[in-house]
Symmetry: D2
Subunit: 341 residues, 4 copies
């Protein structure tokens, strides 16, 4: 089959013929890919940023945001059958550790991350596990939802964790209205009556944010912390969801958070540095967020299938994977780039 | 009456005669002090560390950890009567703002902090509010419990917030077995079956920690992070309660926290600096803590009155306030120093 | 001033001149009534149903759903000033008991209930407390929101308690789309993405329910339990909110609740009778609900002032109070009847 | 192998030779039984009480409370290996449904219940699933802990759910200090500082309750509701855990619950009948409880292995199963009867 493989860091991946994956375990599932998202993390992988953390054997197939149709199943698979339309949780989990038994898929002690170190979904077929498969309405086109498999679940997970804090009368600041953030805005609008303030450098992104449910937008031109203070009577926001968390956004985000409030870190790349006196004197929280649970992905698909969360996508054929990455890097992709094999 | 007043920073406070406080508001309460705790924060006040944050008019009476007997009440006070034994919540609150109406006394928008900027309890009488009074069993000696009014409530508040994370099989690291920490250990022992690991530089403090319920102790001699990793199969602790949060303890505390775990900041003075990648890749939380709620102080008094939390105290007469501060500064006080007028 | 007073059970109340209330306590507030809701509970009071539970001295002024403008304040009132537009929490609370200190206004040990046993708001002026006053935008007409003071807060409180159970993919059944229920539907639509199923005997009420956000409606004609089972693949609903809870609705409501689900009782009058085996074998919960907290009323006013919760009202002059009660009894009132002095 | 099989209702089970179970699925596990609890539910099974609900094919092997050593494993089992000491969660679950993915094992849509309808553990070998196995310290004797597999997990589950309600100063009433209840008392003592009040008809059970941590005991001689009111200043208990829930205990339990409190149903057999007015006017909750989660069983084993929960047991050889049942029925068993093959 055709696949997009990383052979070496600081080089383009190669679209080439590789052997098809085969079923070996009883819970294995092979999925025919209908859409594979192209993500900024893929650029970071090429740059070698994940080389140390994941230490993968090269070459491997990229693609960690996948949806498609079930192609073949292992002997013990009962939750999906051949032909089913599915979206894939990004981390097939063991199902047996304490975290898995408590529904905390993110903290499975032996999960893998296809597309980050093992073969992913920028290919015709992907080997995954029954535990990663979320069944979709057969009318769903995988390419329309694939980006929810990683960008979507991550945004939804953070919003869902913040829900108890977002009662009517509160303010939620969302920093970064890009691939993840624009999903986050829609989740906030669907699930809360909070006052949504979106902060971004890009005026177009802010225009889209308004259409998706933002009540206020703030251009991040240096005055963004003051602007949030002004919008909140000098108190700051109850919740800040930071989808950037680098280049100073992380300091801004904490500074925008009110006494007793919570700053959710979702993006990464920066360094957060705060006096412990500032943490305790205002009793603020800093909350880490990574991917989400299987059930959260299933919930997000309910929002998607009822039209409450929609994605802007640009599709590329699998052969054009290198172009898609280049366009993404150049900032030319509107919405999410999706490879369609 | 006699009182311990701060006239200028970087000077000793003065024990002197001052006018008695008088009732002016309907919810005012005047308390005859039975015990006033001497706290490291008092040393910090003398050093001018709180000058900017609180910007108080000098002179004022020190003492933010108080218990005694009701001496006089305002016209609308119904919860206590003259002669009642009481311990005082450190921040008399307005009772009308959103935070007060939700029981979050720490976040009252107009509370005061007697002893930090307005007249406190190192005196014969203290003016406070009905809302600060927690009724005690008349058999209780105020001097025996006064230190729970601030050190106690702060430790209890952090432990209580962490309780849902501390199910059997978890590990809780507690950094700093001093004035607050040794109460925290007792609260953990009374309210959980978690595995309690106490970290301190001082071998004697660790000996006391064991008597109070610590299952393991670790000398903070440079190898403390590694020691915690070893005690937790390389995973780190589910919860870290950091009563120090300065001089590197804050970096240690975060490093000791496991994936999905929470690091509670209670002490202060240091600077926490972490890459946002470390926050998200492990989905850790950093949780601020300040004082506690009125109800939490009442709950802590239940633990105290049933013998589940006890305090080691050394009493000094009010006239010896300067000596008490000097002894505390010199590290010569065993347990908590209490002024008894 | 003019007021609507109950002199004897099983008789009409009397519109008559009575002395104006006066300020006696420091937290007292006198409100000039702008709107007082007429409620089915008022009919029950006339019938003597509350005579035993409340044991009030007669005569007293009816009216437990009130909004207006601050007319006079006690010496210690700081949260409102004369002229402010306010809606009134139905139960002025003490502010000092454990429940009040935890924000659980419903469980204050010494609250009163104006209009149920002590003088209420069907009058030109009402004596209440600073703690009952929720400040409104001055542009708000009290008569437009008065019904939120009791019907609204009760519906909102139940919905808010159920929110953590109502993630996307769940089903919430709401029984009774009347005065409270039609507010409940709007709260569900504003705060969740749950599948809303409304059950009522009245086809017109169901039509309104659809306009307000119900996804499915079920006529309560005897087949309602089966209809809910069919809408939920035979599983039952995750949450049932029962605004009727009499005449068999209470048994239906429990029967419509799925394994692990929760049945919220909000209406009253019936007798719930279930084998304990049915409770445990399916691990279902039965959840009581009464009024709500001060903060919940404030949150609901945010929803009202942003247009997310609206009320259908019919106004009557104070002199026409007896007519209004008669119309309500006869089922002729569209929306909520409001007396406007 | 030898096994205790039910051939017909209203007859004694038969100890007889049957074929050994065999591995067929990849997650199958065969356990050599070290101890199988004899439970009142077994008597109810013989009486046909579960015939309708479970509709099992007869004959089948009894025994739903099991511990032992891993004897053989399927091809995909990774969490245990042959020779491991294990206790078995009572309901092997699918691991793939929404409930399983959220850690709610009790609500798995396709779980089985060995010993209630399919072959259980009163035998030399038991066929179960990897998902049911909780690994124990190899020093543990299965016969010493087997009763925790069902009686224990059920008591622990209810206590754990109630923990957030049981802060210092609250009162928890526990009705029924028998097989489950005496574990519940120990869990309360290990995990809370609540005031524990135990109600039972049997004076000896109350004596044991005191040794296990009860602060007050009440003989259920007709005055038990009044006694609880007196112990709680006329308020009732914050939480009532009812391990009986039949023969009137269910009405008592609800009546003993204070305003805003929660009545936990754990036993069964009775009929709870309450006016909906009583539910709403006091905002009380009725909480169903069934078995518990896999993680809860693992947590309980931590309490057992650290000596915080201990069991009184009487062992019988497998051949004496009919005797054990008869002794249990006659009320002659001290602690839990355990069959040891």
């Amino acid at each position: 089959m055709k696949a997009v493989r990383l052979h070496a860091y600081h080089q383009q991946p190669v679209v080439e013929e590789v052997p098809e994956p085969t079923i070996s375990g009883p819970l294995d599932v092979i999925v025919k890919i209908g859409g594979a998202g192209v993500c900024r993390t893929d650029l970071h992988i090429l740059e070698g940023q994940w080389a140390e953390a994941m230490a993968p054997d090269l070459p491997y197939i990229l693609g960690h945001e996948n949806a498609g149709w079930v192609h073949e199943i292992g002997s013990a698979v009962t939750n999906v059958k051949v032909g089913d339309t599915v979206i894939l949780h990004p981390t097939p989990t063991c199902g047996l550790c304490r975290a898995c038994r408590g529904g905390q898929d993110m903290h499975c002690t032996t999960s893998t991350f296809p597309g980050l170190g093992v073969d992913g979904g920028m290919a015709e077929l992907l080997l995954t596990s029954a535990r990663a498969c979320v069944l979709l309405d057969p009318a769903t086109r995988p390419q329309d939802v694939a980006a929810l498999a990683d960008a979507g679940i991550t945004a939804y997970h953070a919003v869902r964790k913040a829900l108890p804090l977002l009662y009517p009368g509160t303010t939620c600041v969302l920093i970064g209205a890009g691939g993840l953030g624009h999903i986050g805005i829609q989740c906030l609008a669907a699930l809360t009556a909070t006052n949504i303030v979106v902060v971004d450098r890009n005026a177009e992104a802010l225009k889209l944010a308004e259409q998706l449910g933002a009540h206020h937008t703030v251009v991040a031109d240096g005055g963004q912390v003051a602007a949030v203070q002004e919008l909140t009577d000098g108190q700051g926001a109850d919740v800040v969801l930071d989808f950037v968390a680098e280049q100073g956004a992380e300091q801004d985000g904490f500074a925008m958070t009110r006494s007793g409030g919570s700053y959710y870190v979702i993006g990464y790349g920066g360094q957060l540095s705060v006096p412990t006196l500032d943490i305790i004197s205002t009793e603020r929280n800093i909350v880490g967020n990574i991917v989400g649970t299987y059930n959260e992905l299933a919930e997000l698909m309910v929002l998607a299938q009822t039209g409450k969360v929609t994605l802007h996508t640009s599709t590329f054929p699998l052969d054009a994977a290198v172009d898609a990455l280049a366009e993404l890097d150049a900032g030319n992709v509107r919405g999410r780039a999706i490879l369609v094999p």
